[in-house]
Point group: D2
Chain length 348, copies 4
């Protein structure tokens, strides 16, 4: 008999939160038991989001001990700076936690405080949290009860870079990532940058050399190859709602062929159901993964420059947030990682 | 044991066709057995649509007798003018058919030829086909094996008008429908009107007083109230991919209250799982149904003018095409109408 | 010798204000002498708007007497509720004023307070202000020194309706206006409705039967035909930055022909350089006037219903705001109305 | 007395052509005398483009000798592969020519044929044509009567790279250009890539390592520094109509400071009225130049990686095509380069 796991969602009113609701609503083994909020307790979610007008969730206050009795696993889709204070209590209460914020991804407190300009969570929790890039750390995730879900840009970028870095085929100081995101990545908070008349028909670079995802990416890359040097990483805001593309450049140490490069990627991801490698000479577009948990990747080698270009795309709210969180929860709970996530992109 | 029905899709390479693939892929009782095309036989669908790159369907040629042995039910997502010639053979071969074109919706050959400017299908087939507006003709659909799936605009418009027309609350010559659609409604065929640089940042009215969905709407309205006079119906192209809004105006015969109007709609759709009535004073937006089979409706009464305004929104490719087609197939096959369609809108 | 008139702009940091700067910068007879703000005194405009980074205006405080010595004419692009308190002082100081807010358009204080839900300006100023729909009130504008510049929706709607209403060809209780606007019409202020991720790929109806432009339109219509009854007027937010379309419906009193209707519009606007009538059977799109001061109009008559459809489009920030304000200023100052406004739409 | 130069436009029905019409219509010294087309002779331009419905140009056939008698200067906005055959006749007839195609930019026939996959123009014409990057080759333009107007991507990229390459501050093999363009750059021709439903809400990389603008950029860079090695250059299609951003990466040969870098750019462009350098720490967005002839540039230096990032934005149809063409024509004819081009960007 299929007894479903009981799930709680904290921060259900942000874009990550409602995407968790969308994905979990059709999950065969997970049941959303309750949604929680410290600031909007008592509010019906459908009063904030009419697209959920057929649902009747009311936001509950956050009480770790009560929550530990109510649910088996909690997704915390709270902002950075909030999770650092909230999540330890949930972990201590014995709950399994998948945290979608950036607060438990970096292992060094100093690094966090330098890039996030906020107080870090305590070191013990930083070390307890497993970095949930599902395709590469599934074993660790399976053994853990506390997951730091990767950032949207790091997910796209690390899945693009992993085969190159692990195989040590590229010059260690040659990595440049030119990343682009749809506007939903900026979240639900209002700002002039995300004001429609300003963001529409506009392409904007932001946080040049200063994005907080830089140390997250470098930490993982160095775990794969300790010689990797600081990367150049820039982010652009694209006038569309969903989607991230990472265009990754690196110089090959030695001559290689496109055939070799393609074979490397096919082999690297042959067991990864959500990573689709495009045929030689073809490259993915963001719309081709919209609404889905796929990360699509295309590869190129340029003989003129000896440079490799890797293009990866994800839906920032799915594989870049809620989808990968569910994927990690599946692995933690012993289900197949694709469970409840095998839907087709919404196209066009 | 769950033995799935075998499904065929004809015209799988259009936007209606790939939406059928998306919806049917997660349907618990339907299994896509094969996809068919007269013009692209032998082509892999993933070579046309990289978002389906994990799928391996190859387009098969159309042979009604072979198809009748292979599958239980066929969706024909072929254009108007093609279905009229193709579908009779499938019906005659004994297949259950849900046709998404406009070729079998009008019951009069003359009317079809006047508004579509093409030769009509034979009258016998016109009469055999049941008009599949699921919420209002479920009984007829259940008894039928050949469904004419409603057009996108008629679905939004008729669901908005049905309670008013059936209850005879409005002046019969007062109906004006100002309809707006996203660009995917124009299909996959190239044209300057759907060229990005022309359609983007543009709002365009088209087919003024001449849209072929006018007689379809009027035919159904007259079935509900034989005194309904010709309607005014205009369509606009909105710079977005998915979504239809029908803003419907009609004059009340007698004084009424918003309370009465709201109660009428609640009552009319209390058993309709895909119709959601907004609270008094609230109105739906197209994004609130994107990717889903919902039709959301808001109602207003203006005492200054004695006019009623009904606003209905659908995703033109789901409730306006593939979703309603699956809903009809569910009803035909004896399943609950929501089967496989209970997903949440993709928001934002 | 060409001595330029000295111009002041109050409220230069809103979208109406920066559009005035754009238009006036290339005006042969107007010179922007200074820009004013009560709240941002001392700020450089280029620090708010980098697209003006080659300009060096610094916002000055508002002092009517000093302003009267500095400049000849002031455009007040301040919000409703602010203009009502600010403008009388400027008028009293002897300045020519073109006010872009809604505060001086309605002649009845009660009507203003009912629809705007704010205190009205004093009646004497309401009566002093001339309603600046340039095409129809040029004589009054020429004699005035205080113009209430029309709203964006009223401009598009009244230019569409004027020939019909003045010629008394339509049933007086039959006017329905289905209006649609780009998002810049909501201004620079942040709100969840204008948050990119919410407004993009979305079509939203708002202020159903309650838009404050309703009494403005009715006041002018009744001035043309005292028998005109309350109109139905609804507004929709379209995912684009600029552009308004008014789709206007009315029933003809008597049978008419498209030929007659078309001739009426050609004749009505033969001396109006900014109104372009589309040929019979053709209709304008919003992009066709983008960035320009044109109002393009298409007309249709439907014999099935005896209803007339008039479609008018404007750029809401130009003909719907700053452009018409300059047009009025031209007329007030004795220049040709097109002066400085004869540029071609930005297309595509 | 102001006697205007008579201008002809060949290829007036493409996006480059109608942008020339927009810009030249308000030019004080240029008068559009006639528009020409080989394929659409006799057609009224307003029948193709309703935004020009107040204009009455009729397309004339192309006869170089007659044209030489009619006009002083011709802009050829014809596609690559057409200009190579058309322009020599115009040049030989004694006309001044500004060609907007790519056919006369590369000096080597082989290079052209390799990257364009088309027959090259004759070598003598390649050498006769002056490459019209106005900011850097004004002297040559002034002496010439035949200009090869730069490509859109090369304009943005070369203006970004010029100060670095000319000053020899960067490692010669370190240049990577990640370029992004709005969809109007693909022109008026229909294709599935520019079909609205495919391009909207989508970010697509294209012509990876294969864009025909690569040799154009390298040719100019090598003219400035013969040691420059092949560059990596990739292009992305962004869901907006207008705008190009080049994000340029290069490694500094020696340690430098942001202060030095900023000073270099200020100095390099101090006499360039259309290049605006953003303050340190600020970067331009494409919308900030929309509709204008500006190229806005921001600079960054990252001490972690010793890499320089230069961000440049242009309107692809203005500074990237028609605007720079007019700028070059101004220089050729002895006018100030800004003549007729000093308008403010359309914002928002």
């Amino acid at each position: 008999m299929n007894k479903k796991s009981k799930i709680g969602i904290v921060g259900a009113t942000g874009y990550g939160g409602i995407e968790l609701i969308r994905l979990l609503s059709s999950h065969p083994h997970f049941h959303i038991y309750s949604v929680y909020s410290s600031s909007q307790e008592g509010t019906m979610i459908k009063d904030i989001y009419p697209h959920l007008s057929h649902e009747s969730w009311r936001l509950q206050d956050i009480d770790p001990n009560r929550m530990a009795q109510e649910v088996d696993l909690v997704f915390t889709a709270t902002p950075s700076g909030i999770s650092s204070r909230l999540v330890p209590g949930l972990v201590d209460a014995g709950l399994k936690v998948v945290d979608l914020s950036g607060d438990f991804r970096l292992k060094e407190e100093d690094l966090y405080e330098q890039w996030y300009q906020k107080p870090s969570a305590k070191k013990s929790y930083l070390h307890q949290a497993v970095y949930g890039l599902s395709e590469w750390f599934a074993e660790e995730v399976k053994e853990s009860s506390f997951i730091a879900n990767p950032g949207c840009y790091p997910t796209a970028t690390l899945l693009a870079l992993a085969p190159l870095v692990k195989s040590r085929l590229i010059e260690e100081d040659s990595v440049i990532v030119d990343a682009k995101s749809g506007v939903s990545g900026a979240g639900k908070g209002l700002s002039s940058v995300t004001h429609y008349a300003e963001a529409n028909e506009n392409l904007k670079i932001y946080k040049v050399n200063q994005h907080q995802h830089i140390p997250e990416i470098e930490q993982v890359l160095k775990g794969w190859n300790e010689n990797i040097q600081p990367i150049t990483f820039n982010t652009h805001l694209v006038p569309m709602t969903r989607g991230i593309m990472s265009t990754v450049y690196a110089r090959a140490k030695d001559r290689m062929t496109l055939e070799d490069l393609y074979a490397l990627y096919l082999e690297s991801y042959k067991a990864a159901p959500f990573v689709r490698i495009r045929e030689k000479g073809k490259f993915p577009s963001t719309k081709e993964v919209c609404g889905s948990n796929y990360c699509d990747i295309g590869v190129a080698f340029d003989e003129r420059t000896n440079r490799i270009t890797i293009v990866s795309v994800i839906d920032n709210l799915v594989k870049g947030a809620a989808g990968q969180a569910v994927q990690n929860a599946n692995i933690m709970m012993g289900y197949e990682q694709q469970t409840g996530l095998n839907f087709i992109p919404v196209y066009p």
